[in-house]
Amino acid sequence: MQQASLFRTLGQTLERRLPLLVVSPLFSLSLFFVYGFIAWTAYISLTKSGVMPVYTFDGLAQYERLWDTPRWYVALKNLFIFSSLFIGISMAIGILLAILLDQHIRLEGMIRTIYLYPMALSFIVTGTVWKWILNPGLGIEHLMRQAGFENFTFDWLVNSDFAIYTVVIAAVWQSSGYAMALFLAGLRSVDDEILKAAAIDGARPWRVYTGIVLPILRPVFLSTVIILAHLAIKSFDLVVALTGGGPGYATDMPATFMYAFAFQRSELGVAAASAVMMLMTVTAIIVPYLYSELRGTRK
């Protein structure tokens, strides 16, 4: 009798602990490979590391170096321009397409797939294709000139003042279909009863959307912003494929800056410092979001 109850309690404990046990290897791996290396990078940013990592503490010298480098400011400015335009335009196009698709039109499934399709491509492909389209000697400009418009110029790709906007164009092309899909899912979840009630009350479509539907979609907005924002901050492949950071370093982003300093210039310390700055930026966005979300669910 006693033995049986012992087994039972053992079984219960195991049952309770099993999920923890199963998760723990994964947990320790991510603890080591993600958080461990974040800590390592943070420490390297406080040392004199150059070609090889060195571990003698050197204070904030690498950060001073970083914030003295004009190229870093270009990268930050580009990140700001790129992410605000990219997120803003992608969301505007996404919600417009979603509303239009939501009018119970024919062939909706096919159209939806067409708009979503660019998301299936990798940024490298998008970047390469747009590099050809935007190249003055090959793409749009060449085409228009051959069509007889001799003075047509569209040289943003090779103009250091405008090159960053070509990155925006390519990224928007790639991601607005995805934003559309998110919004469409949100629109579909809006209760029909509310819309009918609004129609009975005589509300016009415009008023229905601005006054009822969009406020209901608030959580969708938030998650779309988060998804697009992290795409923007870690944008690397698109820039490398489309402009290679150029002309000069006019389209440098923090991620390409970090790569250049770590792997082309043997300045691990500065690169680590820039990585830490990027991490802090992401944290500054994500933490308030998580906080508000978690508080919301607890309620």
Partner: protein, 417 residues
């Protein structure tokens, strides 16, 4: 039973002995990023010669990013305590690794074969750490070349290759008037910097070049001569077609080949493109040094890392001796388009441009106007070179004034040191 128990270990011992005997000439593992065209062929020559001595060659080619990927792999392997025997590594990069204590010297081979007597002193200095050879050069590339299409020049009425930047500007103006792109150029930072250093040599001379771009003297960097160099670079910007941004150097070379452009300023790897297309020097294309009566030196070398074990150490020494042998220097450089690093190798089988390069090299050694290339990682550490590239490329792609450029350049260099 009895038999097999004694015979087996015997066989094992015998095969072990045989195995080491077969590898008496050593094993080398060579990390490099020569994976395309003439370069791959050239490294194949090295492999063939090494295997002919009875050694074992383990090839570790790591392509991508102009060696960035290879450097990342190297870093990981040195940290793990398992470095390759020899690495394609050049310039002050050698010193950076030597300071980490990661290199072996091959001084006994170098002393026995008297490398000091056959290498240009500037180059020998780069190969040494604390007076001992830790690397062996395979070739010498000249960076300060102008390549030209004679037909395009004739069409525009340009009679001779320019010998000063003023002459170059005059010729370029004529080409522009004739509707030919004067200067074929690719807008990549290293190409911008290549043109920049050739301009500095032409405007300031070898002595100024050395002070500004090698010794990083602040006074030289902010001097009027440097401002004049930037002015000339700004002039060259006007001779480039609007489509230059991001173009690869070999595409720019092809523009000269096709006669779309008159000149290209590029190192002698461009010659490889001409020759590969079946063009003949002095007939289908012209080569002339850029102004300045100097010689901007770029050289590939193999650096020897700290390996252990007799087998690997032997391989390292054999490889060092092989790289510096006149025969190898000749075959390798015929394949790669450069000239031998040894100055005593006869150049009978080489083309006219290579012969000109060689005679100018000897003249430059004599008159002390041989300078290491900044743009090609021969003169300054990668961190400083990076600052040069950033600034020069920003200057080339914006309307920054020469005065601002000089000031910002001096600040950037100070920051990186």
């Amino acid at each position: 039973m009895f038999h097999s128990r004694t015979v087996l270990p015997l066989v094992a011992a015998a095969s072990l002995a045989l195995g080491t005997a077969a590898r008496a000439e050593g094993t080398v593992e060579v990390l490099h990023w020569w994976t395309s065209g003439g370069e791959a062929k050239a490294v194949g020559e090295l492999k063939k010669s090494f295997e002919a001595t009875g050694g074992t060659w383990l090839d570790s080619p790591i392509a991508g990013g102009g060696g960035d990927a290879a450097m990342t792999a190297l870093r990981a392997r040195v940290v793990a305590g398992n470095p390759p025997t020899a690495v394609q590594l050049k310039g002050p990069g050698i010193q950076e690794w030597a300071e980490q204590g990661a290199l072996n010297d091959v001084e006994d081979v170098a002393a026995a074969e008297n490398w000091d007597a056959v290498l240009p002193p500037v180059l020998a200095g780069i190969m040494k750490y604390e007076g001992q050879y830790v690397a062996a050069p395979v070739n010498i590339h000249r960076v300060d070349w102008i390549w030209a299409n004679p037909e395009a020049l004739a069409k525009a009425g340009v009679e001779a290759m320019p010998t000063t930047w003023d002459e170059f500007n005059a010729a370029a103006d004529k080409l522009q008037a004739a509707g030919i792109i004067p200067l074929a150029h690719g807008g990549q930072p290293w190409q911008d910097a290549t043109v920049f250093e050739d301009v500095v040599l032409g405007v300031g001379g070898a002595g100024f070049f050395r002070k500004a771009l090698v010794e990083l003297d602040q006074e030289a960097l902010t001097s009027d001569t440097m401002i004049a160099a930037f002015d000339q670079l700004r002039k060259l910007r006007g001779y480039v077609d609007p489509n230059f941004s991001g173009r690869d150097w070999n595409l720019a070379t092809a523009m000269v080949m096709r006669g779309e452009a008159g000149f290209q300023i590029m190192g002698d790897w461009a010659k490889g493109e001409f020759l590969a297309a079946g063009k003949v020097p002095s007939k289908d294309f012209l080569c002339a040094p850029t102004p300045g009566n100097g010689f901007v030196l770029n050289s590939d070398s193999f650096t020897f890392f700290k390996v252990e074990g007799d087998d690997k150490l032997t391989g390292q020494k054999v490889l060092a001796s092989l790289i510096m042998s006149p025969d190898f220097q000749k075959t390798f450089n015929l394949a790669k388009g450069s000239i031998p690093a040894r100055t005593d190798v006869p150049l009978d089988d080489f083309d006219d441009c290579a012969k000109l390069s060689h005679s100018d090299l000897l003249k430059a050694i004599e008159s002390d106007s041989l300078v290491p290339s900044m743009a090609h990682e021969m003169a300054v550490p990668r961190s400083v070179r990076g600052e040069f590239l950033d600034l020069v490329t920003e200057f080339f792609n914006s309307d920054m004034s020469s005065e601002d450029a000089v000031k910002r350049l001096a600040d950037a260099v100070k920051r990186a040191m």
